[in-house]
Symmetry: C2
Subunit: 250 residues, 2 copies
Amino acid sequence: MSESPVPHEPPIYRRIADGLRARIHAGELRDGDRLPGENALMAEYAIARATARQALAVLINEGLAVPKRGSGVYVRQFKPIRRHGARRLSREQWGQGRAIWDADARGRPFTVDRVEVALERAAEDVARVLDSDQVWVRRRRYLVDARPVQLATSYFPAHLVEGSAITLTDTGPGGVYARLAELGVPPAHFTEEVRARMPNPRESNLLDLPGGTPVIVIARTAYASDGRPVELNEMILDSAAYVLQYDFDA
Amino acid sequence: MSESPVPHEPPIYRRIADGLRARIHAGELRDGDRLPGENALMAEYAIARATARQALAVLINEGLAVPKRGSGVYVRQFKPIRRHGARRLSREQWGQGRAIWDADARGRPFTVDRVEVALERAAEDVARVLDSDQVWVRRRRYLVDARPVQLATSYFPAHLVEGSAITLTDTGPGGVYARLAELGVPPAHFTEEVRARMPNPRESNLLDLPGGTPVIVIARTAYASDGRPVELNEMILDSAAYVLQYDFDA
DNA sequence: GAGTGGTCTAGACCACCCC
DNA sequence: GGGTGGTCTAGACCACTCT
């Protein structure tokens, strides 16, 4: 009496989404092209409005499409910035009056935004890494082509950087790494921890992220040659704007 | 006559989602706890079913919650595997009969699954990187604690590895890197390119990903000491299962 | 069997964009 | 002004889970 277990057909909204996705990957729908809208899908497939919305939501949540109010849903593009790991932190770059970020924008103009500098009580995990309860915190946002692409928060042990330009909005030529060198603790070693997740609402807002865009989180710890941690930098990157590159020998 | 531009209240479904998110971050709702379901939200806020669903969908798409059919919506956890970049590829590890992956599971048992080996015509980008039209392709899936965590596809120039154990399902002790060494082209340099995006349906299936989980994509190219590329390995990682770590000196 | 999430219909009003 | 996506209601049937 048992029914043979037939593999279920996917629901309509999935089949519609699959069809649109295939057309995107086939190049039939290209970067910036307008997808069939809710009304078009309702007519074409004889479905209710909510079902058409559901199909489009799939592609939006996959990051393949972006909705524009009052206009339509459009195919999305991916033109990333290449961020180099090891190389970009080499001594040549921060030893000669150049800020690290220079290397990232690769000739494209970039700006810094929403700079905040404050002395704060360290959160538990920050305190553990830096071995310090009080920290100077530097927050800022980076933009390329007027588009926000990264949020960054740097933490420094308070006792280490007190009185230096690191506690000022303008850190001077060479940035914080040049200042750390002047303090006798030039960074000698870096550890970067990288993960990815969906953004929280604050990050989504500050980075102006459309739905379906994950963020890459990089926690970079800089150590002086004696092994003391001198900076913890947490970076939140728009994953649609970045490719990370790491080079190393066997 | 102009209305002063009042900042709009967020829609109900957003406010409900914000409330639940706050309770999760406050620790009031913890890993694995059950969230209020659709019916509970309908009653509590006097809203329609679709609106309650929409609120829960926000958290699901953020990767903070996982729906279980017929049961409820649950708070999600993040217990990652630590994958080391530079260090894990050091000569000590692949020079002595140990496969690379050993280092990743950190003592936890791991298994390999769905191994496929084939000679194929290279896709355009693969052909460009490896400078070869014909490639041997090795596909497999990695599982930790019986849970799929990574898909990997390795490409080798066909003329280079023809006749070696790299073209067999079982590559022997030390894995493909030991075989490349025997062929006179031990990997001397690696480049890893890292990005993050939402998974496509195939990846979502093979990795058994709940909604709101991005994947990390690593494209690793291995070069012999003469600069020739000898392997291109594309890895698709469940972002909820991994933290990448890269160490380097200034 | 009762409760849960998954899918779907058929409406409605709104803000926004483009013509 | 007409079309678009954004939000919301009030229903319905289904498959699945738990007990």
